[in-house]
């Protein structure tokens, strides 16, 4: 099938097999390896990217389903002027350690920020983070980063 979409603002056109997962298209065809693959069953959230303003598990979407969509990956966050405010807050609060889960968490939070659904309390921050597994940090640094940036 022909897939036409934009990824991080650039037009992409490719021939894809229907069974190709969006995450594999992003990593293997586009070589954007910032998006990580964890569980491939929608549990860990590592592969979360933004598709048409919504945070989406890219392991639970076929590349062909992104036809006509605007896709953004973690590579879109930093600009020539440096890291994004969200990335800087993560850095300040040591909200990552090994970094495997970080791209998925950053993209989830980026989408939530743009959708004006930013957590207003520690409990809301923890509820939001419950969709992404982190085995290093214990989440405290992320909660602190979220609360510092909000609302």
């Amino acid at each position: 099938m022909i897939l036409r979409c934009t990824v991080n603002g650039e037009r992409v056109e490719a021939e894809v097999a229907p069974r190709l997962l969006l995450v594999d298209f992003i990593r293997h065809a586009l070589k954007l390896t910032g998006t990580h693959v964890g569980c491939e069953s929608g549990i860990c959230g590592s592969c979360t990217v933004i598709v048409d303003r919504a945070p989406v598990r890219s392991c639970l979407m076929f590349a062909a389903q992104a036809d006509g969509s605007e896709v953004r990956t973690v590579e879109s966050l930093a600009t020539d002027n440096g890291l994004s405010p969200l990335q800087l807050a993560f850095s300040r609060h040591h909200a990552l350690q090994c970094g495997f889960c970080t791209p998925g968490i950053l993209m989830t939070l980026q989408a939530v920020r743009e959708r004006n659904a930013w957590p207003r309390s520690e409990q809301e921050a923890r509820e939001l983070l419950s969709g992404n597994l982190c085995r290093c940090t214990g989440y405290q640094g992320m909660v602190d980063a979220i609360l510092e940036l909000g609302p």
Partner: protein, 280 residues
């Protein structure tokens, strides 16, 4: 961990989707949000040879009030329904249930109809639909039919959906002014599958309590004894006995998360707390 090969169709309207479904018969599988189906495909527990993607069909989305009911299109994203002022105002129990469905990102992709059609025993939406006496509309190439939630959910992952049909909407009765609701569930962590869940709606206007209990049996149940007991005197004192009687009558599930015995005990606490919160 990659899905088996299949042919993907992306119809733009419902008639095309129904025609494809008729054409491919049992080989075809419908996909909406894919938050349950795609994990099954990645694990090759599901290997459909034809996938009909409903995401491009605008007619399946939308929320509208029609008299004393709310029509919610099957393709409406769970997060969209949760954030809807209309749903929060007119179907507050549904909104309360939606907060417990998966996680923010899976709710942004997962649909109302997909969750109902999947009929997982732990589904919050199935529980809310049963407690609220909602209906679902199913369409095939020839006609549409409406089925009560109590008759639609037959068993774990099994519904009265027939081959060739697409679930197009859920129809929920509007909550009367002054309605109070409570939705509680116990899961190992937020967003995980519920071990026990309860949904209660109190409508003071018609002095009616609606009570559903989910995740502990193959299909959520209506707690008729509690609903009836609410209309009699001294309800608060009788509640513990009514809850115990409800749990005794249920064949509780036993799985990796909880044994049947533990589930029953947890459900009793969950149900009691939920009723107390609604009638407080």
């Amino acid at each position: 961990m990659k899905p088996a090969a299949f042919v993907l169709h992306r119809p733009r309207d419902l008639d095309d989707a129904l025609a494809l479904l008729t054409q491919h018969g049992a080989d075809a599988c419908l996909i909406a949000g894919g938050q349950s189906l795609v994990p099954m495909m990645n694990l090759r527990l599901a290997t459909p040879s034809v996938l009909i993607d409903l995401n491009g069909i605008d007619a399946l989305t939308g929320i509208r009030r029609d008299g004393d009911v709310l029509h919610i299109g099957a393709g409406t994203r769970q997060q969209t329904a949760l954030e809807s002022d209309v749903v929060q105002r007119h179907a507050p129990l549904l909104a309360a249930a939606l907060r417990h469905v998966g996680h923010y990102a899976t709710r942004c992709r997962g649909t109302i109809g997909g969750s109902l059609a999947n009929a997982d025993p732990a589904s919050e939406l199935v529980l809310a639909a049963i407690a609220l006496r909602a209906h679902v509309t199913l369409r095939d190439a020839a006609r549409a039919r409406t089925v009560a939630a109590s008759e639609f959910f037959l068993d774990a992952m099994t519904t009265a959906h027939k081959p060739g049909e697409i679930l197009t909407e859920i129809v929920v009765p509007i909550a009367p002014e002054g309605t109070k609701v409570s939705f509680r569930e116990h899961a190992r962590r937020h967003g995980d599958f519920a071990i026990a869940a309860a949904a209660v709606q109190l409508s003071p206007k018609d002095n009616r309590l609606s009570v559903g209990l989910g995740a502990i049996s193959t299909v959520p149940v209506i707690c008729q004894r509690i609903e009836d007991g609410f209309r009699t005197g001294n309800f608060a004192a009788a509640l513990d006995g009514l809850v115990a009687a409800e749990i005794t009558g249920i064949d509780c599930l036993s799985d990796l998360r909880a044994s049947a015995s533990y589930r029953g005990k947890l459900a009793a606490v969950c149900l009691t707390d939920c009723v107390r919160e609604a009638i407080r």
